[in-house]
Symmetry: C2
Subunit: 452 residues, 2 copies
Amino acid sequence: MIKNMSENQIVLQLIKYMKDGKKQSFQGILDELHPYDIARIYENMPEKHHTRFLLFSHPEQIADLVQELDKPMQLELLLKLGIEKSGQVLDLMDNDDLAQLLDGLSSERIEELLSGMKQEESEIVQNMMNYPPETAGRLMTNRFVWIPQHYTVRETVDKLKSFAGFSETINYLYVIDHDKKLVGVVSYRDIILADEHEKIQDIMYSRVISVEAHTDQEEVAQLIERYDFLAIPVVTEEQVLVGIVTVDDIIDVVISEATEDIEKLSASGKSIDFDTSAFVAAYRRLPWLILLLFIGLVSGSIISSFEDTLSMVVALTFFMPLIAGMTGNIGTQSLAVVVRGLITREIDRGVIIRLVFRELKVGLMIGITCGILIFLIAYIWRGDPILGIVVGSSLIMTLIIGTLAGTIIPIILYRFNVDPAVASGPLITTLNDILSLLIYFSIATMFLSKLL
Amino acid sequence: MIKNMSENQIVLQLIKYMKDGKKQSFQGILDELHPYDIARIYENMPEKHHTRFLLFSHPEQIADLVQELDKPMQLELLLKLGIEKSGQVLDLMDNDDLAQLLDGLSSERIEELLSGMKQEESEIVQNMMNYPPETAGRLMTNRFVWIPQHYTVRETVDKLKSFAGFSETINYLYVIDHDKKLVGVVSYRDIILADEHEKIQDIMYSRVISVEAHTDQEEVAQLIERYDFLAIPVVTEEQVLVGIVTVDDIIDVVISEATEDIEKLSASGKSIDFDTSAFVAAYRRLPWLILLLFIGLVSGSIISSFEDTLSMVVALTFFMPLIAGMTGNIGTQSLAVVVRGLITREIDRGVIIRLVFRELKVGLMIGITCGILIFLIAYIWRGDPILGIVVGSSLIMTLIIGTLAGTIIPIILYRFNVDPAVASGPLITTLNDILSLLIYFSIATMFLSKLL
């Protein structure tokens, strides 16, 4: 019925039904919409209609809707519902989404929210919250169907029918033995294609790939990406099946990991987007900049310690930004390769040695090319071959050191599990600034008598 | 049987079966493995066994294997197979993977490869290659099952059984009318739960979300992410169903888009990873660095034009790296926010104006904070309030201009569809270097009489 209606028309129709008290027709429209669209409609509707909107929707519809809102709006909606109805809605929510909602709230607030829920549902969520953040245990859902291995296809279909609407619409059924250990997997398609008297254990696929609940979310994402899975089962150390992680959550993981990498490279601070207010954005970016300002003062004091050299050969100043800038740039390039590489493959000693050696060679090749170039330019521009040699040899050295710094520093931080945000692009750039100035002025001072 | 065997043990076992000529047992093992694992085994096996490996595998197994290899290895494998068997394998490959394989090959090579294929299969691939790169048409597969809307559930199951093994294991069946237009979608689960006499058009979901074949892959990824879809149907302008894009391809899109963003920020050049050779990596990174070297010379000539000011007040040099560096850093921060924002939401005039205005305010707040700080430091360090004022007011101005440059330049490039790699971090940093030096020395020259 609403097939060809625009979003605005749908909103108007829903408001009309609410005014006329037509609950049935209202729910009919919601049933035809995707949760994401319902959430958009709810958000774009004048707030005065919200309470009525919730009154007209049944808990399943609200549970779908609430999962697509952002956190402040979720909390506001639950408040509007009151303890009892919000309990019903929370019971119906996917427990991974619920765990995400609770994450970061005060323990009183969590208790308050969980108090309206069924005992067993709230226990499941509390168990999930016990796993460390960014692990499989935090991402998993318990809305999946498991089948004992001795079931026939017929029995399986019967079980599926009674759990309809409960499980996430994922293609696989997981097969467990009498100890609840994961022993196999079978797809809906296999079920359709099989004869109804066949036993599940005869049609199941038994080399199941699973993850342990403490596995890091990046590793889970790698497995799902690698095998093109739609979901991956989560087990305890004893191989007991406790949940599944679905591919839609993994897309979110991949996006947030990429955003983290970019924050590392730019030190732009956590979660600044187009909607962040100016004050908040400035507040999040400032700490880094102030730190970098103080590191920048180190450059200043290095230069000041070479004040005599400088005042004698002012021309040295002209090449300062070039040398510092180039060193910073080559360091950022190396950093980007390392940061991206660290998430997409496993790192062992061999890989690191090969990489550092490779970057050393890259630094040499680029350094010699640029060094010769700048020697020629400096010589022609200032007519002084010694100045050319000072600038050229400095650039060769600083580029080699710059690329190594951009490679080794993030690896060391990664090895020592330091918050990777520390290995940010600006930090490497600023450190490379300091190194390059030290090298440049040291070489210049060595040649000072010849420069005059 | 191989359930508890390590990868090495499996390799040895396979080699043994090959030596003993036990084709059946060999294939039995392959059948228990995921394509990704078969590919790893093939790669890690000494090359002398490869020909025999392919001889022992049947075309379906090779088709699964080949999709998980990288391009050079794929081409080598097809060469080993010979025209006839490689044609069989190509027929069995998913056409999106095949299109990816052909992408970038010479037209003679493409013709040669396609020559061994069935007419209809090679036509499908050639049609796909006609869509522009990075669109839905290039990503889609035709291995899906469509159902006429007048079918009953029973007829549907029969059709499914006869197409078993052909379709990708995705949860949905797409429903078309007599003009082959997409009219609905139904899941395997719906089929299992429905009565076998029901008509598909009565149980299908008719508000289908689809994409047009020319839709950009980023937009497809956004839709799939937003709606948590496992697949999305692809239609022509006339709504005729031509393929589906599956979530596993979308994960690859999300990863490659993120990598592109990082290349933008670091100008590290396309596709350098841990395995790239030093020479190739240097060759890819050099063009940018040489360009930046010449831009850096502009900084040099700016400084040289202020030679008189500098030689009179050498202390001005001390703050040069700090001012240039801070301006570069704030620009990179803004750039990161913009680059990430441009891919995750639609951009209109209003969004841009709000964003630029926000960044102006951020620049003001950060500029004033850092400016006051550096005024105090310069004053205390050098005991000269005028130097403090010069440095402080310069920093305020350069930080504001730096953040605006980091915001506006990428937006302009994006608007004019310039290759976004141009808006790279180092470029913004280098431009900000030049701007900051101009401002700093202009202000210093204005105050020159008071500084002496």
